[in-house]
């Protein structure tokens, strides 16, 4: 579904990715793990067209490296950004509506309403808080809203950046379980970036380990969980943070 070849990405004069090749098959949950600054978020941003990039990104057989972020969303790729980046002063309802922004011209109101129902079905708490300002929600609810907003664009590929950031372990578990449900029921494909590598590897099918802008290891998530270098470098610390609830 997503094929990336020799991808370079830059922030000003800094090279954040230097020749990354990876792929995501339809229906897969793939996670990117690595230390801070390894290039995980950059990779998501590069797919969405949010950073300067070179190389080949092909989505469903179509090269998207030259497209604008809007055009990329329209093709079916949505991102749930790190730190949620909700519109804090707007209500839950307005935030969700913005997620469907690009669809208003092409899809009927009825369709959009159906998708909204689906989001409420996944996250019933959002329905209860429809007219509440997003900024007043708890961390977990904000994350649900961010996912819900991304789903309103009706993506086939969902890019998720650090969904567990700042959340209690139980909430993280719920959110990851919802992701699996989305994949199971909706055939959604997910590319996940997680600082909490252990939690991510438990829900993912496969994983890539990034180190200073290069992929250094890849494989089935279960194998990476057992990899002693991965355990030492990325699981030990995270696990502690995870169990201590950060």
């Amino acid at each position: 579904m997503l094929k990336i070849r020799n991808l370079y990405a830059y922030y000003g004069s800094v090279t954040a990715l230097s020749g990354v090749t990876c792929h995501v098959r339809p229906g897969e949950v793939v996670c990117l793990i690595g230390a801070n600054g390894a290039g995980k978020t950059t990779l998501l941003n590069a797919v969405c067209g949010l950073v300067r990039r070179e190389g080949q990104i092909v989505f469903d057989g179509r090269p998207i490296t030259g497209l604008t972020p809007e055009a990329i969303v329209a093709l079916g790729i949505s991102q749930v950004p790190e730190g949620r980046q909700l519109f804090a002063a707007m209500t839950v309802s307005e935030n969700l509506d913005l997620g469907a922004y690009l669809r208003h011209r092409r899809h009927s109101k009825e369709e959009i309403r159906r998708d909204l129902e689906r989001v409420f079905d996944l996250f019933p708490r959002l329905r209860d808080r429809l007219s509440q300002q997003a900024g007043t929600l708890s961390g977990g609810e904000q994350q649900m809203l961010a996912i819900g907003r991304a789903l309103m664009a009706r993506p086939r590929l969902l890019l998720m950046d650090e969904p567990s950031l700042g959340l209690a372990p139980k909430v993280v578990e719920d959110i990851l379980a919802t992701l699996l449900r989305l994949r199971r029921e909706g055939g959604l494909t997910i590319l996940l970036v997680e600082q909490n590598a252990r939690a991510a590897l438990k829900v993912a099918d496969r994983g890539y380990v990034l180190e200073t802008g290069r992929i250094i290891l890849s494989g089935p998530a279960a194998d990476l969980l057992q990899d002693r270098q991965v355990t030492r470098a990325y699981l030990g610390r995270d696990y502690k943070e995870f169990t201590e609830g950060r």
Binding site: K3, R5, N6, S18, G19, V20, T21, C22, H23, E211, R214, I215, I216, L217, S218, G219, D223, Q226, D227, R228, Q229
Partner: protein, 417 residues
């Protein structure tokens, strides 16, 4: 097919998978193995320079001597505490060959062996008997573990006499025999002596390993046992037998390209040959963690056969092994370098290396190394006993160090001519 998602993968997808694994292997090798870092730096290259598998040809090759120079742990890409197996074999240089396995490597290795068995038609219902010489201890262990992983009932090699091996084969109702071509032929001659016919056995197929299988030998064994013969290609440096395997339908051996990248180069110029042309097989590991090999020269002369195979696998096929680029030769599946023979003879002769002739002969199918030592004055002795002792010592020395059977005779200069 055990893993159709990889064995019959669309070529385009396979190539993307190869590229991503190749790039991560090169990055790990560069960052974690001094030898490779020096090799890259010497040419002013970084792993990033490889943007497609074809770019590999810009990198230098790795040889058995390189492995020997970095003996024992210099080629390992993970700390020793992550290594779960340190596999040794006599190798073909003065030092043992050392290969490290991390736990994922063991898993990969088992998967490749199970893939090979499945392609050979072996199923969990089979009773599989392994008959391999002690000199092929690594192959014994590899093939035993792989068959157990597949779920077959395995009869490991128990160092029985050949007659007892055949008795086991008949009485235990062995359905699959795993051995070398040399031993299979020998077993046929022993069967004849025992008046045991193929019909009395339950044998269905044989997997012949450790040495290239000549067509006529294959036919002879198939006819003798009235079975199908499968074969495999592997080298100890690169995870043993699971590298390439026959499928029973198309020509050649399917190369596990999802985990190893094959190239064929001109052994002289080291330049890749055009597609399909013969040359030396060079292998780059794509998935191994502990012991990445970048462009390892196998020394085997062969070619790659592209295009679809009736079995449905898309993996490229290794053609017939037609020879070697170096003087390494095989005695019943055990690889030997002439330098090793000379060094060992010299040790027995207290530093003196006599002129000698050697050849591999088959005695009742069994491959034996025949060495004629040319008698020179320096150790000419009327005491026959002393000379016989010398031959015995040399024979034992070769057996102990290389695991090969040798027959050593003294020849006078006049006999040799």
């Amino acid at each position: 097919m055990r893993q159709p998602e990889f064995e019959a993968m669309e070529r385009e997808e396979l190539e993307l998978l190869q590229l991503e694994r190749l790039q991560s292997t090169l990055t790990r090798a560069y960052r974690q193995v001094k030898f490779y870092r020096h090799q890259f730096d010497r040419l002013g290259l970084r792993p990033e320079a490889v943007r497609s598998p074809a770019d590999l040809s810009r990198l230098p090759v790795t040889t058995r001597d390189d492995l020997s120079e970095n003996y024992p742990y210099g080629m390992f890409a993970v700390p020793l505490r992550d290594i779960v197996r340190i596999q040794s074999s006599p190798g073909t240089t003065q030092r043992p060959l050392v290969v490290g396995y991390a736990s994922q490597d063991v898993k990969l290795w088992l998967g490749l062996l199970a893939r090979l068995y499945a392609a050979s038609g072996v199923t969990p219902e089979d009773i599989l008997q392994i008959v391999l010489p002690p000199g092929l201890a690594n192959w014994r262990r590899d093939l035993q573990a792989g068959a157990e992983h597949l779920g077959a009932s395995v009869i490991p090699d128990a160092s029985l006499s050949f007659a007892k091996q055949l008795m086991v084969m008949r009485d235990y109702k062995t359905s699959i025999l795993v051995t070398t071509a040399s031993l299979a032929r020998h077993l046929l001659t022993v069967m004849e002596r025992m008046d045991l016919t193929a019909a009395a056995l339950s044998l269905r197929a044989a997997l012949l390993v450790a040495a290239p299988l000549a067509r006529e030998v294959r036919r002879e064994i198939e006819a003798g046992f009235q079975i199908r013969v499968a074969t495999a290609y592997g080298i100890t440096e690169v995870m043993g037998p699971g590298l390439a395997f026959s499928c029973g339908q198309g020509e050649g051996l399917h190369f596990s390209e999802d985990h190893f990248y094959p190239e064929i180069i001109d052994p002289e110029s080291r330049v890749p040959v055009p597609a399909g042309a013969p040359g030396e097989l060079v292998i780059t590991t794509l998935s191994t963690v502990a012991f990445p090999l970048v462009r390892f020269r196998s020394g085997d002369l062969t070619s790659l056969l592209a295009g679809p195979c009736p079995c449905g696998r898309s993996l490229v096929r290794l053609g017939e092994i037609t020879g070697r680029t170096d003087s390494i030769f095989s005695v019943g599946g055990i690889k030997v370098h002439p330098d090793q023979i000379e060094a060992l003879l010299q040790e027995v002769m207290e530093g003196f290396l006599p002129r000698y002739r050697r050849r591999v002969v088959a005695e009742e199918g069994l491959e034996v190394l025949e060495i004629d030592l040319i008698v020179a004055e320096i150790f000419f002795s009327d005491e026959i006993k002393a000379l016989e002792g010398l031959c015995r010592r040399a024979r034992r020395h070769l057996q102990e160090n290389l695991g090969i059977d040798a027959r050593i005779t003294l020849k006078e200069m006049a006999d040799v001519g």
